[in-house]
Structures are given as C-alpha cells and as structure tokens.
Symmetry: C2
Subunit: 429 residues, 2 copies
C-alpha cells in the first residue's frame, strides 16, 4: 500500500470515529435534555426541581439558586448552539411556557422574582455566602436577553456583573462572610475562573461589553495562571492573594477536574487573544498535568481531590469519581485538539469519553449518575441534588457535539498534523 493511500485510509478511519462519537454524543444530549424536561419542571410554582432520584422522582422540592440559574442558562446556551442546525426544534420547546406570547424560559422569571434579595440589595440567596449564585444568575439573565431580546434582562445581568466585580476586586466584606482574624487571604481558583467565564458570556458578539470587560478578562486569566505552582509542576486550588503557595492541606489541595475546567476557560481566552504560546502553556499545565496526576491507574477515572505532596487528602470523597470532572475533561481535551491538532489530546478525549459513557450513563432511566466509588460502583443513585443539576452533562454534550461537527466540517480532521494514532477504546478502563 502506498504511503499516501495509507494516510488517506487512516484519515477516513479517523473521520468515521469522530462521526460515530458525534452521533453518540448528540443522541445522549437529546436523552439527557428529555430527562430534565420530563422531570424537573415545576408546573405549579415555576422554576425547576433539581433533587431528582434515579428515575426522575422528586425527593426534595428545595430550589437552589445556582442550579436554577444554570438550568436557565444552559437551556439558552444550548439554544444558541442548536440554532446553528435548523430542524432540531426539540430543545426549543423546553424554553417555552405554554400560553405566553413570546418564547419565555420557564425559570427565567422565577429567578428574577425569587432568587434576588429585595432591591436595592444586589445579592442572591444561597445556603453559603459565596459569589457563585450571583454568577449563575448573571449568566442566566444574559442568556435570557439573547433569547428574548428584552433589554431589562441584559441590564440585570450587567448590573449584577458589576456588583460581583466590585466584591472580587474591591471589597469582599459586603458579602457578609465573617473574616476571622489571622486567617490567610486565600484565593480559590474558582473565583477568577467563574469571572473569566462571565467575561466570555457577556462579551459574546457584543463589542461594547467585550471591550468593557477586556481588562477584567486579562486579570482573571493572570489570576488563574498563578495557581500553577512548584516550578510548573502542580496546579493548586488555593493560593495566597499575591500568588504564593499556602501552608498545609489547604495550600496543597488539588482538584484535577477543576484544573481541566479552568483549562478550557483559558483555551477560549487564548482564542480571543490569538495567543498560541499561552495556549501551549495552558495545554501543558491545565490539561496534561492534571490528567497525568489525577487519572486513577487502577480503576480509571479522575480522583476528586489530591494532595500535591501525596499525603492522604482529608476530604472523605477524595477518591470518588464524580461526573463533572469527567465532563469538563471531555470538553477540555476536545477543545485542545480542535485548537492545536495534537493527536495526543484527541486520544485523551476518547479515553475519558469512553470511561464516562460506560461508567456514568444510566441506560435505564437516562441522565448520568453523579457519584461513583473509587472502584466505579454507583455510590449515590440520585440524578440531581444540591450540587448536580441540568448543567455539566448537557453543557459537555452540547459543546462536544458542536466541536465534533466543526472538526468534521474541516477538510481534514486535524489540519497540518497526522491523524490520531489510537482508535476509540470501547472497553472501560
């Protein structure tokens, strides 16, 4: 066989694998969204139930603001993607409340009415005082604006965003969390990550807001990047405000899935900035490094927490396999491959996706289990709870489907580079 023929066959095979994954991911997205549409809508009071058992039964009617925001946000988000492909109105139905004249996401008005504390206060209610409720609220309001065109939603989003930025960069005391004397000033990586995500969200196809938040985006990226510590050998979840390693467990704490999520937030930042050098750094430190340290060599899957000095983490769930680190890893590796063409990243996407589909998916009732034991057994049968809603799974599937589609629409799957040498692995790790 000629070299050219062989290369062509490899390429064909690679395209087939990508195509197969695109279909698998797309079908799974439909199933997952169907699960939430069927079980999570509160027809009586509006908003969404998120505490759903394996078969969708509501086991608690508590409504967590951030999960409400995420579900509204996701639905809109998904709509944006779906409008690229006409003829799939399936998802749009989820955004309509019957009897309303304009498309009105169920949960959008619910959020606006109940999630905020009474004006002039600019806060959302949550069990613990962090900025995350406000962030997901902002994201949801922005998506609402994009879908309905109603300006009040954007005003609401921008006002809340400015409040969040004030808390993060100027004065955290208003958040109402008592700061203990002598406690170190900690920067959890989640804070600049979340803000970076909002910068991306609000500035999308909006030059005025993109310009307004450009400096903030650079600041967020710098703050996330300073979590790379120990001469580039570890991403640490918490550092001091001036970018130094903190002492003890808090300082050594690592969360591979969170680093991978930060990775794809940063990759999008690199695309906006057109910075391939930063991209290579991000792939190295936020994708490959956390995967190498965090992938369980015995049972597969990503550990939830690790200690940078290999002490036993103090989190009881450290060795459990959670759904969201795996969905974030799928996004990160596929985005890394799409941007760089590095076949190793595609191979890792296949490895993580195969584990994830085999271990987390529930073929019987739909959606994914959220919590597996170290060995991969289902530890909690719930499909939704205080920390799992309609967010990570559909976001991952929608983004992966879109990226796979974009790869397949290119003349070759990975321009300027050889095709991925390792085919999809169908067996679980």
């Amino acid at each position: 066989m000629s070299k050219a023929l062989r290369a062509r066959q490899d390429m064909e095979k690679e395209r087939e694998t990508l195509q197969a994954w695109k279909e698998r991911v797309g079908q799974e997205l439909d199933r997952v969204v169907a699960f939430w549409m069927e079980h999570s809508h509160d027809q009586e009071h509006g908003g969404f139930f998120t505490c759903l058992g394996r078969d969708g039964q509501v086991y608690d009617d508590l409504k967590y603001v951030w999960l409400q925001g995420r579900q509204v946000g996701f639905w809109m988000y998904c709509r944006l993607y779906r409008t690229f492909e006409p003829g799939t109105p399936f998802l749009l139905k989820g955004c309509l409340t019957p009897g309303m004249p304009t498309p009105q996401p169920p949960g959008g008005e619910f959020l606006l009415r109940y999630a905020r504390v009474a004006p002039p206060g600019k806060k959302c209610a949550f069990v613990q005082r962090t900025i995350f409720s406000e962030c997901f609220y902002t994201m949801a309001m922005d998506e609402l604006w994009r879908t309905t065109g109603e300006a009040r939603y954007q005003t609401e989003a921008v006002e809340m965003m400015d409040q969040i930025v004030h808390w993060v960069r100027e004065d955290a005391s208003e958040l109402g969390r008592p700061q203990l004397q002598g406690a170190p000033a900690v920067e959890p990586m989640a804070v600049p990550m979340m803000l970076l995500n909002l910068v991306e969200q609000l500035g999308e196809a909006d030059k005025e807001l993109a310009d307004k938040y450009a400096e903030l985006g650079d600041w967020c990226a710098r703050r996330v990047l300073q979590h790379v510590q120990r001469a580039g050998q570890a991403v640490l979840e918490n550092v001091s405000e001036d970018g130094k390693e903190l002492s003890g467990c808090l300082g050594r704490q690592q969360n591979p899935g969170h680093a991978l999520e930060a990775g794809w937030f940063l990759l999008r930042h690199c695309i906006r900035k057109g910075d391939p050098e930063l991209r290579a750094h991000v792939v190295d430190k936020f994708l490959l490094l956390p995967f190498r340290s965090g992938w369980d060599p015995d049972h597969g899957g990503l550990f939830y927490f690790q200690d940078a000095d290999d002490f036993c983490p103090t989190q009881l769930e450290w060795a459990m396999k959670l759904w969201w680190p795996h969905s974030e890893a799928m996004i990160a590796f596929l985005m890394g491959y799409s941007d760089s063409g590095d076949p190793e990243l595609l191979r890792l996407f296949y490895q993580v996706a195969e584990y994830t589909f085999c271990q987390f998916r529930d073929p019987e009732y739909g959606e994914w289990f959220g919590y597996l034991s170290r060995e991969g057994k289902v530890a909690l049968t719930i499909k939704g709870g205080p920390f799992k809603g309609c967010f990570h799974v559909p976001r991952c599937l929608a983004m992966c489907e879109e990226m796979l589609g974009a790869l397949l629409s290119r003349p070759t799957p990975a321009p300027a580079l050889a095709p991925a040498p390792v085919p999809a692995r169908r067996g679980a790790e």
Copy 2:
C-alpha cells in the same frame, strides 16, 4: 448437668468474656493514648497537632479549637477514671508539662490564650460559626479546674457556659451566622445533646452547679427526645424548633451513630433522675431503633447517613463507615446493659466492638483509621484530621473499660437477669 450448675457455668463463661474484653479494651486504650502522646504534642508552641498521618506524621499544623478542647478535656476526663485505679500513672504523664510546679495540661493554657477571641467577647474561633468550639472549650476548662484546682478555670467554664445557654435559648443572632429570610428554624439534635453533655460535666460532684443547671438538663433532654418522630419509628437529626418534622432531605436526615450517642447522654440523664421508664424508652428509640435501621446487613458497620423514607441520601459519604458512630455505639450498648441488665444489649455491644476492633484498629501504627468504604476498606489513611482528634476513641475505651470493670465487680455480671446467651464473636461481620 443440673440446671443450677449449668447457670453457674454460663455465668462463669460470661464473666470470662467480660474480663477478656476489659483487658482488650484497656490495652487498646494504652496504645491509643501512647500514639497521641508521642505524635500530637507541639513542644514548640504548645497545644496539640491533630492532623496526623497513619504513622503519626504531622501533615498540617493547623490547630482546630474544638479538637484542642477535646484533647485537653479527654486527658483530664481520663485522669478522673484512672485515679480509681492506683498504680497507672502512665496517663498522668500526659498532663504534665516538664518544669512546671503543678500538674499543667499541655494545651490547657494554650486554649485559654489562643482559642478565645479578645475579651470582652465570649467566643471561640472556628472555621464555621457554631457553638461547638465554645462547648469543647467549656468542657476542657472544667476538667482543668478539676485537675489543677485553680478557680480561674472554673470561672472561665461557667462564664462560657452561660454565654452558650444564652445563644441557644435566647438569642442566636450574636453568633454571627446570617439567617436567610424564609429559611425554616431548624433544631439540629447536636445542640441540645451538646448542652446536655455540658450539664453533666459541670454538675459532676458539684451540688451548687448541678442545681443551677438542673432545669436546663431537663429542657435539653426534652429537646433531644422530640427528635423521635413518626409515631416513634425514627430519630430525625433535624426538627423544627417546635418539634415537628421538617420537609425534604433535611427533615428526613438520620445519623444512626449520632442517635446512639444521644442515647447514652440520655441514659446518664435517666440515672441522675432515677427514671427507669424513660430509660426503657431511650433504649428502645435511641439504641435499638438506630442500630436496626443503621447496621449494614451486607458488610457490617453503621451507615453514616440515612433517609427516613429510604431515598438515597445526598451526602457523598452516606454509606461510609466512620469510626465515631462505632465508638459511640460501644458506649451506648454497654451502658444500656449495665443499667438494665438486658442481655440483648450486651450481645450488641459484642457485635459492634468486634466489628470495630477488626476494621478500624491499626495494629501496625496504633490508633484507629477513621474512614472506611462501605465494604470496609480503609478509604483515608489519616489518624487525625479536621474532625478526628484525641477524643472519641479514648473516650470510648476509657468508658468501656470502666463499665466492664464495674460489671465484673458486681456479684454477678447482670444482676436479676439471666446471663447473655451469645458469647463474644471473634469474626468480623
């Protein structure tokens, strides 16, 4: 064989089993205390390290107030028991700081100096705002007074106690935890339990304080008892302040080990009050009921959390086996047997003790592992951490050794009742 002879032989056998357990427990207590004495003392700054790895290595030098208080409190506590048996000065050494004229517990002065916020504030520092740091501080100060005879320690204990009672019964707002609008007023069982324990502690052999806190003790017992819900079929961790079941997961939450701990706090209350009817109720609802629902039929051991309607709990660690529910269960069943003579309670003590010694003890480095998987595998190798210090294990062993000794010093192991029919089981469940 005559009936009388057989009964006598059974009784002899039972005494042998009790004696064997007394020795086993006593030896284990010495080993456990030796572990903490060797590894936890901070010679440089005072106080105790509690973040200790499997072999005792300090992996974090953070000092949690409540664990500091517990360690001081335990050491004194243990001393009280040990003084009943002359010739065991081993433990007393742990209370002495070399070079000081009077026995001075290391950690006692440390607590007084650093745990409290600056006067006139009456609070202790802790990561989260609850009353528990203050409670363990109070317990430690009281034990310090009993050991050293220095009045300032008792003054400190009583002043803090009165502050705690004020928070619990009059005004919780000073604790500084923001109460969200619309959030239900929850009473976690831990609050009246903790106070009941302090009433016992402060009133011990002190008629004046016992009288002062007698009404409080009754109030606490009533509040703990109102956690028995659903026509006596479940002990719920959280109820409303007026003793009704709360909605959702919070309302249905059960913690078998915590119910068992409440059980022995209540048993001591029953002894003080001389109330055998209440005792029978407590044995039934706080000992037998949680054990029957909470014991894992497949792998043995007590589940950490359960849902009263058998939904899957949302706590990631719900099926893990933690050390402290097992040490509390050992105390509860042995105390229940000592008080009532019911052989079923002795059998359950043996069952729990056998599982506990086989699964949690670390024969190699001493002390107990704290966290096992559902199947009984060690999930965290740490011996101490943010929630595990020198407290539950030695308290359990010291109390059990003392109760076993008291049982053996009676004319028959269980007066007025037949001996326990089931011998000690040496195999793990």
